[in-house]
Amino acid sequence: MTSPIRLRTPNPHLGAYYGIITSAFVALIVLLAMFEQLGWREVIIAQFMMVTPLLLYVVIAVGARTVDIEDYFTSGRRVPAVFNGFVLAATSVGGVGFLAYTGVLFFLGLDGLAIGLGLTCGLLAGAVLFVPFLRKAGAYTLPAFFGQRFRSRKLRVTASVMQLPPLVLLLAAEIQIAALIASLFLPLTFSLAVFLVAALVAAISILGGMRSLTWVGSAQFIAGAVGLAVPLVTVSVLLTSLPAPQFTYGGVIPSLQNAEITAGLAPVQPEGVTTDLPHMMPEPVVKPFFQSFGILGEYDFFLLFLCLMLGVAALPSLLVRSGVTRSIIEQRRSTAWAMLLVAVFALTAPALAVFTKLLVFQDIGLAPGAALPDWLNELSGRQLLKAGSANGAGGMGAAEIYFTRDGIALMLPTLADLPFVLTSLMAAAGMAIALAAAGSHLFTLAGSIAEDIYRVLDKGAAELPRLAAAWGAIAATALGTAIFLLIADTDPLRAAITALAFTAATFFPALLLAIWWGRCTEGGAIAAMGAGFSVVLLGCGVFGADKAGLYPVYVGLIGAVLALIAGIVASLYGMKPPAATLAYWQELRDPDGETIYDRAKARAAAQAANASASAQ
C-alpha cells in the first residue's frame, strides 16, 4: 500500500551505517598495507582487497531483500537525495568512465575533456528537462511513463523494445570492465570472470530490486570514491606536496611538457591524423597533453560533448531512478548532488592522467643514460602496457611503448612506486563503480521486460507473478549479456558511446515533446522514437558497423534532429490529443501533490475494496 509523502521517512541511521561501511573499508586498506609490509604476497593482498568488498555488497543486498512491489521497483520512494545522488553518479560515470575516460585523457589530453563535460551537463539537462516530471508521474519504468502519458500500451511496448539495444550495450561494457579487472587481479580467466560478474550483479538485483541496488550502489560509490582518492592524493603529495590533486597538477605542467619533448612527442598536425578515440588494444601516445584540438577538432569536440549530454539526459537507467525519492524537490536535489559528484570526478580524472603521463615520460626520458625503469617489466607482466624494442640510442621513446587505454588508472600507484595495496585498491574502486552501473543497467532492462512487456501480455498479474517475471528477466538478461560478451568483440568505450547515441536519438526528442509540449500525440511520440531509433540502428548497426572515429556520435545527433522533426510533424498532422491526455499532461506539469501513479493505484484499490464490500 502506498504511503503519503509525509509518512515516508528514510531510516534515520543511514548516515551511521554508511559511516561504519566507510570506516571498515578504510580499515581493510590499512590492515592490508600492514600485512604487505609484513611480507604478504601481492596475490593474497589483491584477493583480499577485491573479494572482501564483494562479500560486503552481497551482505547489504541480503539485508535489503524485499518482495514488496513498491520497494522492489522504487525503493519505497523514501531514498534521501544524497544517497540517490551517489547511485546516479556511479551509474553515470560507470567503470567505463572510471577506466576508459582516464585512458582517453592520457592519450588525447585536452581533446578528451569533452567526455567529462558531456556527462556533467547531461545530468544538468536531465534535472532541468525530465526528472521532476517523471517523479510526478511516478511510473516504475520509462516506457511505462510513455504508456501513461499517452494512454497507449502500443507505445509502452515500443519504448521497451527500443531501450533494449542501448541498455544491452551499456550492460555489456560495464560487465566487460569489471571482468577485465577481476581477470587481472584474481586467479580467473576472462570468460569465467564475465560469468561471475554477471551472476553477482544479477543476484543483487534479484534480491531486492531497486532497493538493494540503492543501498549496495551507495556502498559501491563510497568504495569507488575512496579507492580513487587515496592513491591519487598520495601521488599528489609526493609530486606537488599538496593533497588536492584537482588543483595542484597545474604545477607539474612544465615538467610534463619537458618530459614529453624528451620522449619525442611533437605537436600533432590535425590534417594528418584520423579523428578517433583511442582503442582498447595497446597503442602508443602520439599527442602532447596540452595541445588543443590536435586529434579531435573543435567541431568534433563539441559534437561529442553534445551527443553525450543528450544521451545521458535521456538515459533510461538514470531516469528510472526518478521515482525513488520522497518528493519532486528531493528528486531534483538528488540529481544536483549527482551532478556535483560527477563534476568532481571530471575534475579529478585529468589530474590522474597528468600524473601518470609525467611519471611515465620522465622515466622514459632518463632511459638512454640510465637503465630502463623497473615498472616497465612489472606493468608488462600485468598486461597494462607493451614495450617495443629499444630505439637506436639504446633508450625508449613515446613511440616504443604501447599503453592499454583501460589500464592507465591502474598503472599510477606502480609508477609512483607505492605499495601494491594501493594498486589493488584502485582496481577494487573501478570494480565497485562498474558493478554499480551494471546493476542499474541490468535492472532497468529486465524491469522493463517484466513491467512493460510481460504485464501488457498478462494484465491481471498479481504481485508475485510480476516479481517472478522480473527475477526471470534479470537472470536471463545477465546470462544473455555474458554470452554476448564472449561471442562479440566489443570495445567498452565505443559500446558506451553508441549506447548514448541511441538514447540521444531515441528518447531525448520523444521525452522533450512528451513533457514540454501538450500538443504532442501518441503518433508523434512513436514517430520521434521510431525515427531516432531507426537512424542509429541503420547508421551504426547495418551500414556503419565497421566505421571508425566518431561515427556513432554523428549518426546519433542526426537521428536526434530527425526524430524531433518527425515528432512535431506527426503530432501536428494527426488528430488533437484527447482531453484526458491533456489533463494528464497538465497534472504532470504541476509540482503539487502525490505521485499520479500512486494516487491512481490507491484509487483503484479503494474501488476494489468497495466493490468487494458491496458484494458481501
Partner: protein, 93 residues
C-alpha cells in the same frame, strides 16, 4: 488511467509553467554558451596562465564544470522557489 482535474487556478498554472519554461531554457542556454565559448577560445586563451594552468585548458577542465555545478544548484533553488510560490498551501516536501 484516470486523473483528477486540479483546482481551477488556470492563471496561476499558466504563470507557473511559463516561469518554469523560461528558467529551464535560460539555464540550458547559459550552459551551452559557456561550453561553446570555452571551446572556441581554448586555443587562443592557452597563451595565458591561471593557477598554473593554460587558461583555455583550465576553462574546459575546471572552469566550465564549476560553473555548471553552480548554475545547477542555483536552478534547483530557484525552481523550488517557483514551485513554492505556486503551491503555498499544499504539500511539496
Amino acid at each position: 488511467m484516470a486523473t483528477e482535474t486540479p483546482a481551477p487556478d488556470h492563471a496561476g498554472r499558466i504563470r507557473h509553467q511559463l516561469r518554469t519554461s523560461i528558467l529551464a531554457g535560460a539555464v540550458l542556454l547559459i550552459v551551452l554558451l559557456a561550453v561553446i565559448s570555452a571551446i572556441v577560445n581554448a586555443a587562443s586563451l592557452n597563451q595565458y596562465w591561471f593557477l598554473h594552468f593554460p587558461l583555455g585548458f583550465y576553462f574546459l577542465a575546471q572552469g566550465v564544470l564549476i560553473f555548471v555545478v553552480v548554475v545547477g544548484f542555483w536552478f534547483v533553488r530557484t525552481q523550488e522557489h517557483i514551485d513554492h510560490t505556486r503551491s503555498e498551501t499544499r504539500e511539496l516536501e
